[in-house]
Symmetry: C2
Subunit: 229 residues, 2 copies
């Protein structure tokens, strides 16, 4: 069989694709570098040309996911006509991919990332996303402060706190996933909905906005994601 | 040498002490069950009588740390004379052990838990602490709502969000530790101090309190911890 020579970037992405699929399926702990090599059928030398350890794969995957997240909000950031509140609402909706149409894809990802054995994966993805998003959100909050709409002493600290609030729903989402298919299903979905509503109010208040200024999830989103197959 | 027979609880705690020391020193990933067994010189059977896997050790350690945290706030919770704001300020101070006198011990723990390789350990300790503290903080916030001082639609969601804010300072603390001994030391300490001030304001606002009602750290605390040896 002729050896297929790929461009380095293609090969690197192919390795990351395989590692991401395995980490999400088996968990980070239970996947070895040899599993990744076997999955795509490359040589050890070919692998180690791009990555020196399993840890590098996790770095590469989280960096790619974070870049994707920035790409999803780029048009909102670059539109000069938007005031800070509109920009922030757009940023929150896009960066969380919280569109009802994405529900089935999102549900599959949730099922994996919220498994207890994937806690490190969850926090690494979250930390990489926060590192990329912090300057972006800081810029939006500074704009709102200049416009006299947001009342915050320190836009960068506010950005860091707001981005970390995302992780505060981890346990509530995990509880709701666990309740699906049981008698508590409806109550769990309603509880998670209320949780997201309050998250929006918490961010309003941190920025000195009236309650209800920001929307974290669209109406019907929680049910759509949780019941998607 | 005569075999020393210990009470089961003593033995269990001795195993957890050894595991905790090794996890904090080498990191969770790099410690094996055999390392723990070798450290205290017990038989494999003696170990597996108490724990079935390394994961159980982490569970046991985080449960112990969380129980210690509740014990530190018990008198504040049980004193019927305290209004909710006084109780909450006491709770925040105690549960974070943010007393200047504890600085050297706290600094040693920080150096370990904030190492990148201990990220899973950090988040597991944090999650166990949040699970134990959530009902406690929910009770204090519900009291404040009844007293008409806190303006929160959902005390339980507010408690969960406020407890998660603790983890939002993880990166800021890690950055400050990394800056110690460099030319940026003073600036990093001042930045972390401002970060803690804003954290207090964020909690004030989430609870509908005037800015400055709650104190997260005592004056001089950040410098005392960061320069302690």
């Amino acid at each position: 069989m002729p050896r297929i020579v790929k461009r380095p970037d293609d090969r690197r992405n192919e390795i990351l694709d395989a590692a991401q699929a395995l980490f999400f399926e088996r968990g980070y702990e239970r996947t070895t570098v040899n599993d990744v090599i076997a999955q795509i059928g490359i040589s050890k030398g070919g692998f180690y040309h791009h990555f020196s350890a399993k840890e590098d794969l996790l770095e590469g995957i989280t960096a790619r996911l974070a870049q994707d997240a920035v790409a999803r909000v780029r048009d909102i950031l670059e539109d000069p006509s938007l005031d800070a509140l509109t920009r922030l609402n757009g940023f929150l909706a896009r960066s969380r991919q919280m569109k009802v149409e994405d529900a089935p894809k999102l549900r599959a990802a949730f099922d994996v990332v919220f498994r207890p054995e994937n806690l490190l994966l969850y926090h690494r993805i979250n930390a990489a996303s926060i590192a990329v998003m912090r300057p972006v959100l800081t810029g939006i909050i500074a704009q709102g402060k200049t416009e006299g709409v947001f009342a915050v002493p320190d836009p960068e600290a506010a950005a860091e706190i707001i981005l970390h609030l995302g992780a505060s729903t981890h346990d509530a989402v995990a509880r709701t996933i666990a309740a699906m298919g049981t008698a508590e299903e409806d109550a769990a979905i309603a509880a998670l909905d209320r949780r997201f509503q309050f998250q929006g109010i918490a961010i309003d208040r941190i920025l000195g906005l009236p309650d209800g200024s920001l929307t974290i999830v669209e109406p019907g989103f929680t049910r759509a994601v949780m019941t998607a197959r």
